[in-house]
Assembly symmetry: C2
Homo-oligomer: 316 residues x 2
């Protein structure tokens, strides 16, 4: 008899297939579980799968009196109140590093896409404007990547992979993070301000939390300069989106590449109107190999939990 | 009195500004020069600037009895009949390597853009389909870059830069070119067939010419497999475009990223209808730093010629 596991967030069914082969999944489809399942079922529930960005506070945890494990699909766990979980003796797991290469790739895709105007260029060809030799201010040559100063905010598993990729493009790489990593060949800046002053491309790869909330604000954006770009593959909450919209509108910076937004799946309407931004629907980890690796972590965490063992991929 | 130089191909005016500061440019704007300028002017003409892909045969050269130098803006010179120029004692120059980094960047931009579906993803966000949770088969997870086998056809200045970038993405790199380069750490295949059998992403970075015409045909595309991609930043003539359209239509391959086309600026209409291709309007070398470097080569070639010296960047 397979163990019952609640699927708390909304996931495409295909992502739960392998996990569903081993566990009896109660899929709430992103709706409040107590509106979908009867109390008796939730009372017995011992484990759940969630997206790290889905809000999960102590009050919600209390609706599941036997809950012992919250297993995040992916690296992030910013939506989980870790203290509340800890107080209730609930273990929290995630999938560290499983999607790092795929997310790093999206960071580079967005950086290149924004700087080289890929979406505009593709539209210019498809619309027939190129064939008609129609002038397009958006197609004017920009400074490329070579020789650019690219600043990384955050230097975890994903940050390291982004840095290695950026360096291959003959760009300079520097970073700011909580701690300095002396094993890395990149220049370290002691503050985000100093990094933003130095770089023209700021790539956000930091773990989200209260201390990073809105930290990329109007002041940071201004430091990037009018040829500056911001790329965010971490969490939408790290950027003040109103400030970003204003900086793009007033040409304080040249463009942006975003995979994440403050309120997903609802990027600000003003943002979707800019031609000099590239927007992806939080698909950083969305590759076959990355999903497989994340599912492996979820399955390993759940299997260990039901065997009474510590989670192999616990949030530290 | 600045020397007169014919601008043979159609160039955006902005690209000729620095060159125009030093030479008296007669800009034909891509039209037949004898329809734009009086015979007397063309009779006196000693040098011209052209795009390497613009057709320039012996018959055309004979319209300029005093022509001594054909200076290509960019790396390529496939449109120039080199034998015809040689027989007439006309020197041919180009801008070797000047745009290599920018072109290599576009190759990676197209590879990532095609595999990670950047244009589709951006449209999915902007249209509101993401917010509406509208299902999209095109947004299904694909195999990403890590662990992929990427084959490079051609290993010149641009090929080397593409290879270095691809390797940073944790992909395997191999190549086929006329000659084996023992200084490189990548696997060499002795034929394009063997390379295409091995790889799932084929990046074309070969110098165009009669021997490469249509060499990427239906057979080569089929060898890439149904998860295969072809990226072309070299010249459109290297791919049989009809075969490419058929391979995309019949799902013989998964997608393509193209910066160049057989007849520019006219990509086949069928190609512009596919969502799984990314198309750019021959902007490989289109960055500020690359244009500056190409202009430096053009100016150096013209200055040397008018001083009676050999071209510093002669086509060898």
């Amino acid at each position: 008899m397979p163990e019952k596991v609640l699927v708390y967030s909304r996931f495409p069914k295909s992502l739960m297939q392998r996990i569903g082969d081993q566990f009896d999944l109660l899929d709430a489809g992103g709706r409040p579980p107590h509106e979908v399942f009867v109390k008796h079922e939730l009372d017995q529930l011992r484990a759940m799968i969630t997206q790290g960005s889905s809000l999960l506070n102590g009050e919600m945890m209390d609706r599941f009196p036997k809950l012992g494990a919250i297993v995040c699909y992916g690296t992030g766990y910013d939506g989980i109140d870790l203290q509340a979980a800890s107080r209730r003796g609930i273990a929290v797991g995630h999938s560290p590093g499983a999607n790092a290469s795929s997310v790093a790739d999206i960071a580079i895709t967005l950086m290149l896409g924004a700087i080289r105007r890929l979406v505009v260029a593709d539209g210019y060809v498809r619309s027939g404007d190129w064939a008609a030799a129609k002038p397009s201010p958006m197609m004017r040559a920009q400074q490329g990547i070579r020789g650019r100063k690219v600043g990384l905010y955050g230097m975890g598993a994903i940050g390291r992979k982004i840095a290695a990729r950026v360096a291959a493009f003959e760009a300079e790489v520097a970073y700011f993070s909580r701690s300095r990593h002396d094993d890395l060949p990149y220049q370290y800046f002691p503050s985000l301000d100093a990094l933003a002053d130095w770089c023209s491309v700021l790539v956000i790869a930091v773990r989200a939390g209260p201390e990073t909330h809105y930290i990329v604000n109007a002041g940071i954006l201004k430091r990037l300069g009018e040829d500056g770009y911001v790329v965010n593959i971490a969490r939408g909450s790290v950027i003040d989106e109103d400030a970003l919209v204003a900086a793009l509108k007033d040409k304080i910076i040249a463009g942006a590449g975003l995979d994440v937004y403050a309120k997903e799946p609802y990027p600000p309407g003003a943002l979707t109107a800019f031609p000099n931004v590239v927007l992806t629907p939080h698909i950083g980890g969305h590759t076959l190999e990355s999903h497989r690796a994340m599912q492996d972590c979820v399955i390993a965490n759940l299997a260990a939990f039901f065997q009474g063992k510590p989670l192999p991929y616990a949030v530290v």
